[in-house]
């Protein structure tokens, strides 16, 4: 019996790993082809049968993008918007999340309930009046118009609050007895304690801001202010036939976020499970 059992287990294992390879290939092929095509000579990706690897790899499209098409500027815009948003959002949402978890004030729980109810409202509902507001503030076609509405995040506050609930009250009280102000308690005791969730929040905010499309598309009208996704969507309108050039543009857009994720995925993954499985 044990011989046949072992044999059956071996076949099950082969089937399992074969399925894994098929699934994995399906996940990776679009990304691998994007990278491969970005190094092909002009026109090479538009051939039949399709070229899978570049015949003689070239950097001409990357040179073209950074030179003639000034993609470096858009990458800079994207980085600027994402870094400022992430930094400010960290401060704003961590303070609020901590306060909702640990400080006592009248109306706290009711306010928090209203906020969580707001999670169900799709952002698109707010976008039309928000555009008029941003316009009246003179922030249309301005990085400020992209950044400011994305700073406070109900989801971010929720994430920090869930984590901060576990801070022992004794720890906070000890600092207060030592004469620390509430701000000092927050900075010196709370922030170091909740560092893991801050990493999660930072990563989420950065990736979401970098990848965001609809709102920057609405707010930014001058093409020198475009972020990478908006610039890329515009580029594909004019250069749809330049497959290899577009793939190089896609690589430049995706590479920073994919790299960040690969190095910091532990924090990212924790955010998913913390935020969704309540």
């Amino acid at each position: 019996m044990s011989a046949s059992r072992a044999q059956r287990d071996r076949w099950a294992s082969v089937a399992l790993h074969a399925t894994l390879i098929v699934f994995g290939a399906l996940s990776l092929i679009p990304l691998l082809w994007m990278v491969s095509a970005s190094f092909m000579a002009t026109g090479e990706a538009s051939s039949f049968p399709p070229a899978l690897v570049p015949h003689s790899p070239t950097l001409e499209h990357y040179r073209d993008l950074f030179g003639r098409l000034a993609l470096g500027r858009y990458a800079f815009n994207s980085a600027l918007v994402a870094v400022i948003t992430t930094t400010a959002a960290l401060a704003i949402n961590s303070a609020a999340g901590y306060s909702f978890a640990k400080l006592r004030f009248r109306g706290r729980d009711r306010t928090f309930r209203v906020l969580t109810a707001g999670l169900a409202i799709p952002v698109q509902v707010a976008m039309l009046p928000l555009f008029l507001l941003v316009k009246s503030l003179g922030l249309v076609n301005n990085y400020g118009g992209v950044i400011v509405p994305g700073l406070a995040s109900i989801f971010g506050i929720f994430l920090v609050r869930q984590y901060a609930l576990a801070i022992p009250d004794d720890l906070l009280d000890a600092a207060r007895i030592d004469g620390a102000s509430e701000f000092r308690v927050f900075r010196s005791v709370v922030l170091p304690t909740i560092r893991p969730v801050l990493a999660t929040l930072a990563l989420w905010t950065f990736l979401a801001t970098w990848n965001d499309f609809m709102w920057p598309l609405i707010v930014l009208s001058d093409d020198r202010k475009y972020t990478l996704p908006v610039a890329l969507a515009g580029l594909v309108g004019e250069h749809a036939q330049d497959v290899e050039l577009m793939m190089a543009g896609a690589v430049i857009t995706v590479l920073p976020v994919l790299t960040l994720f690969l190095f910091l995925q532990r924090y990212y993954v924790e955010g998913v499970t913390e935020g969704s499985v309540k």
Binding site: A12, L31, S46, L115, L133, V254
Partner: protein, 301 residues
């Protein structure tokens, strides 16, 4: 001795807790909740290009925007397209997520964490960029997809140029992009199933499939249900894929409600009409949320 900082006395001064939430609260009210309420008002006006130059030109028109939108065939088509995407794409995505989760979670598997990373990678990519990649994968003559299907005898299909295939093509692309996210939630759900249940079933002689059918699925059902609804709600907000891949075509087959709203609001500057569309979308999302609250055994926190 001063007692500054001690939040004991309910003095006239503002509690420190409020100072900590104030920046976030002000921003959320000014840039989110306020505009949501303003959108209700906007949807009752004829706010258009002229009003954009001079807001006093906008007039109160009652429910006219709503009746106009509801009499517009394009609205109904956008609604059908959006529901098609959400009702087919949601379950398909979660099905793929469950498959990947079972795979990654199986005890005999090697390279577990690599597999998880690979499956999750598409989710963190920039949607605009990968939508452009898929435009080329779907190319009728040079695309990888038709080339691969050609090996099994399928004739070339004009995926994004054919009104019948464009939406399925977008659904497949969205499934590829998003299944990794729900996979993580499914893995967490699978790991919460007590191992004794599987062992007891195995002792009773249940096959692997029977254990899957009678242990895994019932135990995971609440999680799966929650995840399907949440995914559908996200999918009701479809915008970027059709904007980049099809511009809503061909023959409007991929125009979603949000794309329709965007065109009315930000291309033709009919902000009143667009606000009405936004609220109809909101109503649809509320229905999905209520279904989730009603049927979910685990009450939301």
């Amino acid at each position: 001795m001063s007692d500054t900082g001690a939040p004991v006395g309910r003095a006239a001064r503002i509690a420190p807790g409020w100072w900590f939430v104030a920046p976030a609260l002000v921003l959320i009210i000014v840039f989110f909740l306020g505009p949501v309420i303003a959108a209700i008002g906007l949807s009752f006006t004829d706010f258009d290009l002229y009003a954009l130059a001079d807001p006093r030109a906008a007039r109160w028109v009652g429910l006219r925007n709503y009746s106009r939108v509801l009499h517009e065939p394009l609205f109904w088509q956008a609604l059908r397209n959006t529901l098609y995407f959400a009702l087919v794409g949601g379950p398909l995505t979660v099905g793929a997520s469950l498959g990947a989760a079972l795979l990654v979670n199986s005890r005999a598997l090697r390279w577990k964490s690599t597999a998880r990373t690979v499956f999750f990678a598409p989710f963190v990519t920039t949607l605009v960029a990968v939508a452009i990649v898929w435009r080329y994968l779907y190319h009728p003559r040079y695309g990888l997809l038709n080339w691969m299907l050609g090996h099994v005898g399928v004739h070339p299909i004009d995926w994004l140029g054919n009104p019948h295939w464009a939406m399925p093509a977008i659904i497949v692309m969205a499934t590829w992009k998003n299944f990794g996210y729900n996979m993580l939630i499914c893995i967490a759900g699978l790991q919460n199933i007590p191992r004794e249940l599987h062992e007891a079933a195995a002792l009773d002689g249940a096959t692997a499939f029977q254990r899957f059918r009678h242990v895994t699925i019932p135990m995971l059902a609440p999680t799966l249900f929650f995840v399907v609804i949440v995914t559908m709600i996200g999918y009701l907000q479809l915008f970027t894929e059709p904007y980049v891949m099809t511009q809503g075509g061909p023959l409007r087959a991929t125009t979603s409600l949000v794309l329709y709203m965007y065109e009315e609001g930000f291309r033709w500057w009919r902000l009143g009409v667009a606000a009405a569309i936004a609220f109809l979308l909101f109503a649809l999302i509320v229905v999905f949320t209520l279904i989730q609250r009603r049927l979910s055994p685990r009450a939301a926190t």
